[in-house]
Amino acid sequence: MKILKLPKEQLDFFASVLQQFGEVHAPVRTRAGYSFRALERWSEACLDYDRTVLPPKKYFLPPRETMLTYRRPDGYVAGSEGLNQKLVLFGVHACDIFALNLLDKVFAEGVFPDPYYRTRRRNVAVIGIDCEPDEHCFCPSMRADFVERGFDLFFYDIGDHYLVMVGTALGDDMVLATGPLFTPVADADIVEYKRRSALKKTKYQLEVDLRDLPEIFELEYGSEIWEELGRTCLACGNCSTSCPTCYCYDVQDQVELGSTEGPRVRTADTCLYSQHAAVAGGENFRHSQASRIKFYYYHKQRGFVMEHGRPGCVGCGRCIVHCPVGIHVVDVINRLRGVRDAVASH
């Protein structure tokens, strides 16, 4: 991999060059928290943010998207709104890039690749940035604290400079477009990178053990914990909406009154909602909130492992931050494991 460095004071110049590669989006501080959005000026960007409210999946699986429109006499015509817009996401954390790589397994690979997702994925450049863990992060447990791929460039803070990993040819084009701004790394930079990398590892406060976790879930399928969580959970869906790997969606046809023409729209959905597994005729395969929240965890920590070889969780901590009743994923897992007072001990 090509690895270079960039002086920090040149970052705003680099950002201005980036505009030729697409509209630049970065985390911005808002009243509700940090949010990825289009920058009006570079100074709005907050690169030392903890986590955005919504993960970058919103750029690839928009919360609401027109898939097709029914029109006479053409039939169903595929929508293409916003698909071909070139964007540059600046400042994506490793866990969120890892989550995009997981979404690729579902939406970009396999038997039926999703053309909407793939087209967006092709048109959105991703520039990663290193982060400072807080009390809600457990990405090392999910092995999602570092990414080898899924970014065009990745920035690591090494003091006066950023150490920059170049992940793709597009990333290389971005580097070259700045002229001689990026320079080779020196021995001292490598030492500093490794020092900070080792230091970061010591800063995590949460931990879960992944070993045999799918089997623990299997063994604890009838655990009383699920009933208790079912009584606590409000089914608000915050955990799912803010989860970088949740991808369920619903599809509805919308019609104007007196017409059969109109768009087919997909919207983000969550298995925590009561109708998620209901079929026409009244049968509901997950009829209680306990069965639904169990499914939510089960799919991430067991189902996804069986299908894709690892959990559908990156340890970003959003579900912990956004749960209005304090349901804590690490606590749930550790209680299933029988590790007592896991969270309280921190």
């Binding site: 097709l68 039926f112 690749p113 793939r118 899924g150 369920c248 046809d253 597994a277």
Partner: protein, 290 residues
């Protein structure tokens, strides 16, 4: 940006869209049973019709303009190509809208989806089809596949139970099979209020007394409401059936049919991709299965 390494794009920036319904015309509506009609469809684009390769047991996503999309199992056999027969229960928004359409109206179809019955594996074996109530709809494709490819199978047995003769799906067609010698067609009704039923009266599992099934050489395909699975398994398992010789067709909520929307997920399987046909072994190992 998505790495070009995993990018196997075929067109100018736009792959084949798996969500694209193809227009099909309703060529016949058979008002078989109240709220269980059979709709015969033909694709407008003949090439799509020719390339439509379903296995028995697969399903389509059916679009009714303005109402939406729903998964419907295919009731016709791939051995009879050209049209698709869908036995549709009137049960929700989409099917309600379908029942308001008439012959010659247009609908959207995409698919076929799902694994279907593993017919190549089943070739050379005896076949036992067990259907209860509406479970005949997906099994009919396998029934006609077996009858049209009769040389591929040993003994073929159908056991079908309905509440009464009036609610029996494909009744006339199935009654016409009773006298055939290449199939043991056992039809039963729970009750016969009209007194005109000439076949069996009694519960579906009782039909096992009328058939000789060799579990070592037989694949059993079962479809029906949950109670059918319960009572049929109580007959199949004591016979010594291996759990992967019992095949079940399952129903789930579906919004995409292609393993994305998450609704049909059971445990770690998607009904639309890994099903809707599951072995009994899968059923035991997946929670919430039946």
């Amino acid at each position: 940006m998505l790495s070009p390494a995993i990018d196997v794009a075929t067109g100018p920036g736009w792959l084949e869209n798996p969500y694209q319904p193809h227009l099909a015309r309703i060529v016949r509506i058979y008002r078989m049973v109240p709220d269980n009609w059979v709709f015969t469809l033909r694709f407008l684009d003949e090439e799509i019709g020719r390339n439509f390769r379903q296995q028995p047991g697969t399903f389509v996503m059916l679009s009714i303009p303005g109402a939406g999309e729903a998964p419907i199992s295919i009731s016709s056999s791939p051995t009879r190509p050209g049209t698709l027969e869908l036995c549709v229960r009137r049960v929700g928004r989409v099917t309600d809208a379908l029942y308001r359409l008439q012959s010659n109206d247009l609908v959207g179809v995409r698919g076929p989806y799902g694994n279907g019955f593993p017919v190549e594996v089943m070739h050379g074996n005896d076949l036992l089809l067990v259907a209860g109530g509406l479970g005949m709809a997906p099994l009919r494709s396998l029934l006609w596949y077996a009858l049209d490819r009769r040389e591929h199978f040993g003994q073929v047995t159908l056991m079908y139970g309905a509440k009464n003769p009036a609610s029996m799906l494909f009744r006339e067609e199935l009654v016409s099979l009773v006298d055939r010698t290449d199939i043991n067609c056992l039809l039963t009704v729970d009750s016969d209020p009209g007194g005109t039923w000439k076949n069996h009266v009694g519960l579906l599992p009782k039909l096992f007394d009328r058939a000789r099934i060799d579990p070592r050489t037989t694949y059993a395909a079962v479809c029906g409401p949950p109670i059918v699975y319960k009572f049929v398994l109580e007959r199949l398992l004591p016979l010594g059936f291996s759990k992967d010789r019992i095949l079940m067709s399952l129903e789930r909520r579906m919004k995409c049919g292609v393993g994305k929307c998450g609704h049909c997920s059971i445990g770690y399987k998607y009904t639309c991709l890994h099903g809707p046909i599951f072995t009994y072994w899968d059923a035991i190992n997946l929670p919430e299965m039946v």
